[in-house]
Symmetry: C2
Subunit: 279 residues, 2 copies
């Protein structure tokens, strides 16, 4: 038996097509294109590549982007001021602060300078609480993308045991809250979990979101389980021992081509939604 | 074998004594007493009793209180305006909106009118996210009280499996986040959980916070586990089948005299902290 692959590339294309249509409709009725401001601090090559890719995807679906580039020496106060200016700018619909920021910057303070209505990357405390409480707001993009991918395959969540490995503010914690809102029984595992293998063995849905190559062994996977690999590691290796897990899982995301494309698609969809809401 | 009782009454007295000392010090240095505004909407007798009790406890530790009483016909807009006025009032340090509010009122909108720096009951989205992310802020009082009670008995949490039954915005969800911040492996269970008994059997720490009398059967409790009963039900019955659970548990909270006194003590302590911070 081999698992059904959860094809994030294909599902993201549907979402991107719908987003492009909405962006065009917005532009036609408002006379301006939805606009994402990207904020990059410093010279990290990977961060620069991510921002470039996101701006390129914006262009493809008819979303404008505005690049704000700040030197690595930028202080927290300067970064907060720059983001606050974008929050107040009526021609900016969404704001993306590429992270991580340099170590001397208070990343949380910078995130919190993003107006909730422009937090299309879902990084603010307001957005997190909105996800947890089922209030209106934007999703963190990777968690939102994971839920959309599961939904595209009509995978049931109610009453299922979901294990989330990782507890970061923009990935592990919010994806657990979104799964809980969908009536899954959710367990958060992390580096201090005593027996990760046992927790995974009990899970109907596993979300690996910790950034440790092949941490989740294939033999731990419950037969028929849904395995979502949200790990980013060098060499296109995820957090799951993919081939072995695919032998047992019912559904599994590939790396790349699983969660990654969904993340960007949600960012763009939310940017258009922010524009629509602000009109 | 019988469980050690987690004596919330005794532990709360220590906290109340310390709070009284801080309130007196604040009054001596600032020339005014820390002040809690209580907001009561409508005529629910239980809610009225709770508010009266909280104001009485305030008086005992040297905290002033200001009672705002509004008719059951109060609209969301009127309630938000009243709370916003308290948020802006420099003589008010903390704000408690007694809940539930009447069904026609948007409770979330009312909560969000509380300034984060005065949210001594820990009900705002900001406070929730702060608990989840380990940022500065106030705890929801019952979750904060539970953690303080466990700490008073030096009960270890790191790596332990904790099961939280219930997912309300002011109890289940935040207590899970606080346990996660203390490195427990946290599982959220709820009404749609397929096998609650199985989940409880695996738990080193059980927090029952759902408001269903004796939902948690004594025979489910893992020998030696820590059992926290945060249920409020008529007749002083908690969410745990107490006598049977106490036979198996290592530590257990009584009802009453467990979580309840800790909840009020945290409310008062946080009111003094708000006053100190606002000085």
């Amino acid at each position: 038996m081999s698992a059904t692959v959860l094809d994030g590339t294909a599902v993201s294309h549907s979402l991107l097509d719908a987003t492009a249509a909405r962006a065009a409709a917005f532009a036609a009725s408002s006379g301006r294109t939805p606009t994402l401001a990207t904020v990059l601090v410093g010279d990290d090559p990977a961060s620069r590549t991510y921002v470039k890719m996101k701006r390129s995807r914006c262009a493809k679906v008819g979303i404008g982007s505005r690049a704000v580039e700040l030197p690595a020496s930028t202080t927290t106060e300067q970064l907060v001021a720059a983001i606050s200016a974008l929050s107040a700018d009526p021609t900016v619909d969404g704001i993306l602060l590429q992270h991580p920021v340099p170590a001397h910057v208070d990343e949380r303070a910078a995130f919190e300078a993003i107006a909730p209505g422009k937090d299309v990357d879902g990084v603010t405390m307001h957005s997190f609480a909105a996800m947890a409480f089922g209030e209106p707001g934007f999703h963190s993009c990777t968690p939102g993308g994971i839920l959309r991918l599961l939904d595209a395959y009509d995978l049931p969540l109610t009453g299922r045991r979901a294990v989330v490995i990782g507890r970061s503010p923009i990935l592990g914690k919010p994806v657990g809250m979104l799964l809980l809102a969908r009536d899954a029984t959710v367990t958060y595992c992390h580096s201090r979990t005593a027996d990760l293998a046992e927790a995974v063995r009990e899970a109907d849905v596993v979300v690996a979101a910790v950034g440790r190559p092949e941490l989740v062994r294939g033999e731990w996977v419950k037969p028929g389980a849904v395995v979502v690999d949200a790990g980013y590691n060098p060499g296109n290796v995820g957090d799951v021992e993919h081939a072995a897990a695919a032998e047992r899982a019912g559904h599994i995301t590939p790396v790349p081509g699983g969660v990654g494309p969904m993340t960007i698609a949600v960012l763009l969809e939310q940017t258009v939604r922010a524009a629509e809401a602000g009109r």
